[in-house]
């Protein structure tokens, strides 16, 4: 009886193939794991910097972004109510409040920057989203994000409204993305819940 006709041959064959292919994948995975982690950290740091009033170079290298982040951004403390702090010349310039909530397809995670007056928005950035490219995915693009700069967080009611493109804007509202109603609504909802909580927590402090 030849090897191929034995009943255990298919099992042995499958075992060897699986072992060989898995070994290659595990090896490749361990080679790239560090890079994947760095990519995640980089997109987080980039989002924080986009939210803050910091001028970034046109095409910053990953190490440049990391440097700028380390020199300017400090962790949250008891006075910032969970927001990261942008410190320049020993004084607080802005807060960077992390936001997270459900999007249309997958969770959206981002950061909104608010100036030291605790009202003026300095920018917004996203580091995790999986919305439809070209529709909800436009939240990460400059035209949508630029709207937030200079807006004021309302002292009462909804902090920062996202309104349909046909609506008139005031100092506390921005336009949604056409065709991405779900993304805009969901983003608006969790952003405002979290901004309201932050506003509440800060108002109890000096």
């Amino acid at each position: 009886m030849s090897l191929r006709e034995r009943t255990w041959y298919p099992i042995l064959f499958m075992f060897i193939i699986t072992l060989g292919l898995s070994a290659v994948i595990i090896l490749f995975g361990s080679v790239t794991r560090q890079r994947v982690k760095e990519n995640e950290r980089l997109s987080y740091e980039r989002a924080v910097l986009q939210a803050l009033p910091i001028d970034l170079p046109v095409r910053p290298t990953p190490s440049r972004i990391h440097d700028i982040y380390l020199t300017n951004v400090q962790e949250a403390n008891e006075y910032s109510a969970g927001a990261l702090r942008y410190i320049k010349d020993d004084s607080l310039v802005a807060y960077a409040l992390p936001l997270a909530g459900p999007g249309f397809w997958a969770p959206i995670k981002g950061v909104i920057g608010i100036a030291a007056d605790r009202r003026t928005v300095t920018g917004i950035g996203f580091y995790e989203q999986n919305e439809t490219p070209g529709l909800g995915g436009e939240i990460i693009k400059a035209p949508f994000r630029a709207q937030f700069q200079g807006k004021k967080i309302a002292l009462q009611g909804v902090p920062l409204k996202i309104l349909p493109v046909t609506a008139e804007l005031d100092e506390s509202s921005v336009h949604a993305i056409t065709g991405a109603t779900q993304t805009s609504n969901r983003l608006g909802q969790f952003m405002n819940e979290q901004l309201a909580v932050w506003r509440e927590r800060l108002s109890n402090q000096p």
Binding site: I17, I25, G29, R35, P133, G134, L135
Partner: protein, 211 residues
């Protein structure tokens, strides 16, 4: 039949005569999902070409030792292996694209084109020819996807590869939002399949009349 002729036949069949998408209507789930931006589509196409070509080669190399009863398990394993490699490489070296394509790279494993080529071709043909067949089946798939993507991005967003196109990005062109959304893919793909089949049927009728 000589070797070159056979290779040529395989290539032509993969690109046109038996084109996986509009002739066999295979693998259209991802064709619908990732075709609203040309750049995303190109990377998706590259992933499919990479997988069909190399899995064809590998399945063919293993065919003499693979027990028949477990051949499909082995095929899926080989296909999954290449897809995971591609996915890991994207995650590490092109994270933005990896995020754009989301789960669709992983879903290439279940793309029937690749399994179909492994089962119908690579199992019974020499390695090099299987590689060529896989490579061009992937290209045939990618080309159709690209046609769909060009129509969708141009009409839906007024741009190609993210670059605004004259007229389509001007205010006089009212963007067709539906083209960016999933239904746009159904319409576009159906029209492309219709056009391709019409041409093919005419060719075949002419051939039939001659003989």
């Amino acid at each position: 039949m000589t070797q070159t002729n056979k290779t040529k036949d395989v290539v032509l069949a993969a690109l046109w005569g038996d084109n996986p998408v509009f002739r066999q209507i295979l693998g259209i789930c991802s064709a619908l999902a990732v075709t609203n931006l040309v750049l995303n589509t190109m990377v998706m196409g590259a992933a499919v070409v990479f997988t069909t070509a190399l899995s064809g080669l590998t399945v063919s190399l293993l065919r003499k030792w693979t027990p028949r009863v477990i051949r499909m398990m082995v095929e899926v394993l080989v296909i999954a292996f290449y897809v995971i490699l591609f996915d890991q490489a994207l995650k590490a070296y092109w994270p933005d694209m990896s995020r754009n394509l989301g789960p669709y790279v992983g879903l290439i494993i279940t793309n029937c084109i690749i399994m179909g080529r492994a089962e119908a071709f690579a199992n019974a043909n020499p390695p090099v020819l299987s590689f060529v067949d896989g490579f061009f089946s992937g290209i045939g798939y990618a080309l159709v996807l690209l046609c769909v993507a060009i129509v969708r991005e141009l009409l839906g967003m007024g741009s190609l590869m993210g670059i605004p196109m004259p007229f389509f990005s001007s205010p006089s062109w009212d963007r067709w939002i539906i083209m960016v959304m999933p239904p746009g893919a159904f319409f576009t793909l159906a029209i492309i399949v219709w056009l391709a089949r019409t041409v093919q049927v005419e060719k075949e009728t002419k051939k039939g009349n001659k003989s």
